[in-house]
Symmetry: C2
Subunit: 112 residues, 2 copies
């Protein structure tokens, strides 16, 4: 694989690890503080086994880290810059939908 292609692949892999609704919910939940798997099972309503796998995806990609205390595993966000990515995504979507509303309103008015 050519050098640049490898770079694109690595970036795409990181984006892929973000690109799932449950994983976005996890990240939002971990924005302010670390949390254990059990806590997230309850608060996010994701089934234990699935949650564990999503956490593992986020850890493999370097977005989360974990520490263990007795039997409990706590996950936390490794690099807060990930939230810059997510906030920008939100802004892009908000702009887009605002344009959509604008268009809708003006199309409706132009009807007759």
């Amino acid at each position: 694989m050519a050098g640049e292609e490898l770079v694109f692949k690595v970036k795409a892999d990181l984006l892929k690890s973000l690109a799932h609704p449950s994983r976005l919910a996890i990240l939002e939940y971990l924005k302010k503080k670390e949390a254990s798997v059990g806590e997230m099972v309850i608060k996010l309503g994701i089934e234990q086994s699935g949650l564990s796998k999503h956490l593992s995806v986020l850890k493999q990609s370097g977005i989360l880290s974990s520490r263990q205390e007795k039997v409990t595993v706590f996950y936390s966000v490794r690099d807060k810059d990930i939230f810059v990515v997510l906030r920008t995504i939100s802004e892009i979507l908000m702009k887009k939908f605002r344009e959509g509303e604008y268009l809708l309103q003006h199309l409706a008015r132009a009807k007759p």
Copy 2:
């Protein structure tokens, strides 16, 4: 689907549309100027049919827009903020790999 879940789904869909090496290559190519499909087939070395589908994914998700001139279709980036996302992704990866190098060097030194 609950309101918040829908929001996560919409964000995840946008991230998914970014999460492919060819599509990242397309976006980088379109960073400075619009380009036609034919031009990108040549410069990016992606096969015509596949490229057309990747462009369609990016257009559906609102990242690209297109205009037609005779038979030629030109694509361009609709909201430059998408590059904020990509730059931040790069920065996160660079930090991560620098940490990796650092660790490697110190592990090597601590060997004996």
